[in-house]
């Protein structure tokens, strides 16, 4: 699904978290929202998800007005920074949640829910973990459960808030190329928030560089890296000692 954000503004009391932000995510695209903390990237993600509403501006899903659409009607798969797994439920109960809460007339019968859960757990490479509880899983496993849970409702878009932020370096590298591959297979429009330049440049189709509630530049990894539009983009992408190689 194509997502358009037009001139979104959101203020919290006196603090402006988003100041007239516009962007378009094409069907099947993997978009990174990159910026330092406080740049407004998570606020933007939450507005698109329907977890929060803009003060002004509009959001369009496939050209249709969705600004005031309730979150339940948006069918977005949202993966939270700390995964927000339901701690009192097993892995399979977590994944099945979105199907269980469907209204009676559209809810799939129990056997097909179970089948779908098994299918999703195979997809995220966690078969056999059905009866574990979140506290019995590693960080990487929790993240994959959160992803399976979000995918269970056949979301039209996937929104990931710092999806790799809480993981250690090795797992992070493995997971991000895996997520990229999965996103390709599912061809689902995906936005993810990150403050890690390397991560954004490595897996995103296009990178949205944000700073101080505004967008500094939108472009492919090569464009923003080779041809930064503002001094901030240049500094944020290159000033970091962590980048050891040029992106593709």
């Amino acid at each position: 699904m194509k997502i358009e954000a037009r001139n979104l503004t959101r203020t919290f009391h006196r603090y402006t978290a988003l100041d007239g932000v516009s962007l378009t995510a094409e069907e099947g695209e993997l978009l990174a929202l990159l910026g330092p903390s406080g740049s407004g990237k998570t606020t933007l993600l939450r507005l698109i998800a329907g977890l929060d509403y803009p003060d002004s501006g509009s959001i369009l899903f496939d050209g249709q007005e969705a600004t005031r659409l309730k979150i339940q009607k948006r069918r977005v798969g949202f993966v939270f920074q700390n995964y927000a797994l339901f701690r009192h439920m097993t892995v399979s109960q977590n994944v099945a949640f979105g199907l269980e809460v469907m209204p009676g007339r559209v809810r799939p019968p129990k056997p097909s829910i179970r089948e779908k859960v098994g299918e999703l757990l195979r997809l995220v490479q966690l078969p056999g973990y059905e009866n574990r509880f979140p506290h019995q899983l590693s960080g990487g496993q929790r993240q994959r459960v959160a992803l399976a849970r979000a995918l269970a409702i056949n979301p039209r878009i996937l929104l990931l808030d710092e999806p790799f932020g809480a993981l250690d370096a090795k797992v992070r590298k493995e997971l991000r190329s895996w997520v990229k591959q999965l996103q390709r297979e599912l061809t689902i429009t995906t936005l993810f928030v990150t403050h890690d330049q390397e991560e954004a440049l490595e897996i995103a189709d296009r990178v949205v560089v944000m700073n101080l509630a505004r967008i500094e530049q939108i472009g492919t990894p090569a464009e923003v890296y080779e041809d930064p539009a503002t001094p901030f983009v240049w500094e944020f992408l290159r000033g970091s000692p962590f980048i050891s190689h040029a992106p593709p």
Binding site: A49, G50, L51, I71, Q72, R75, V76, G77, F78, F80, N82, Y83, A84, L85, F86, R87, H88, F97, G98, V101, M102, F133, P134, H135, S138, G139, G140, R142, R149, A150, A152, I153, A166, L167, D168, V171
Partner: protein
């Protein structure tokens, strides 16, 4: 993240070691205090109740006035605890999960019954519903009796025990944040489903804890109930009031026999309370692990 760092400190090993002398004297003082002020009275209650033999003790429970007091206490608890369960959960949910103007005032109001003397709480109801109170004439024309009757006792008990459930839940719900609720909403759940399937199960042990304390207080409340009850034997006497009457009539065995019921309730409450506390600690350790998210 903070919870994680705290959890990694090895348990059972204080970081600072005081000299043995201080440690032992502190333990000794505490133990002596507990023995003198808590265990001895408790023992006395049972001892006095059984001092004339089991039969004399059992007779206290055959007295119709005593039985009526026990029934009334159970009735009052059966009404006020569920009421406060609903109020408490609603209040905690509102305070912990939403932000709205006047929230801090609401939080202070919840604590009011803890701050106000129970006798004052009872007097408030007399001033409102009593024969000379604000609503007295209106109630009289419709022949509704609240003061010196069961409704007044229930109202006073609800007032006094209101904070227990809410106070227990608010910090717990605040600590858990709103992410799981947001996740439920994003998965298509409505507010009602989110509450029953996510919010409530997450606080179930805290809720049970609050209910137990609330119940213990509801059954044991003396001051507020004493003001509104009118002490009508067999009609408006709860267990604590009945104990006082028996004692004042020098019927010590019966007084202590009935009082031993409350003492048993206290012991049962303590037992369940420590069980629940243990469960909550287990749960807390798990959830602090899940927020650290290492591999």
């Amino acid at each position: 993240m903070n919870a994680g760092t705290i959890a990694t400190i090895p348990k059972g090993r204080p970081t600072v070691r005081d000299p043995k002398f201080f440690r032992w004297s502190a333990i000794l003082v505490t133990a002596a205090f507990l023995l003198l002020f808590l265990l001895m009275p408790l023992f006395t209650v049972f001892y006095e109740a059984l001092s004339q033999g089991l039969l004399t003790c059992a007779r206290a429970f055959q007295d119709p006035a005593g039985l009526a007091a026990i029934k009334l206490t159970l009735l009052v608890a059966a009404i006020s605890v569920p009421c406060n369960l609903v109020f408490g959960v609603a209040a905690a949910w509102a305070v912990a999960k939403f932000s709205f103007p006047g929230k801090s005032i609401l939080v202070s109001l919840i604590d009011l019954p803890f701050a106000v003397s129970p006798v004052i709480a009872g007097l408030i109801y007399v001033l409102i519903f009593g024969a000379r109170g604000w609503l007295g004439p209106v109630l009289e024309t419709y022949n509704i009796k609240i003061i010196f009757a069961v409704p007044g006792i229930v109202l006073a008990t609800i007032f006094v025990t209101f904070p227990f459930v809410a106070r227990e839940l608010i910090p717990l719900m605040q600590a858990q944040g709103t992410e799981e609720e947001e996740a439920a909403l994003s998965l298509g759940a409505n507010g009602w489903q989110t509450f029953w399937r996510v919010t409530l199960p997450n606080v179930r042990w805290g809720l049970l804890y609050g209910i137990i304390l609330c119940n213990a207080r509801a059954m044991g409340e003396f001051g507020a109930v004493s003001v509104v009850s009118g002490h009508i034997r067999g009609l408006t006497n709860t267990i604590p009031l009945h104990v006082e009457i028996l004692y004042n009539e020098y019927d010590f065995v019966a007084a202590f026999a009935i009082a031993s019921l409350l003492a048993l309730l206290a012991l049962a409450t303590l037992l369940i309370k420590s069980l629940v506390e243990w469960r909550m600690r287990v749960q807390e350790e798990r959830s602090s692990q899940s927020s650290v998210a290492f591999v």
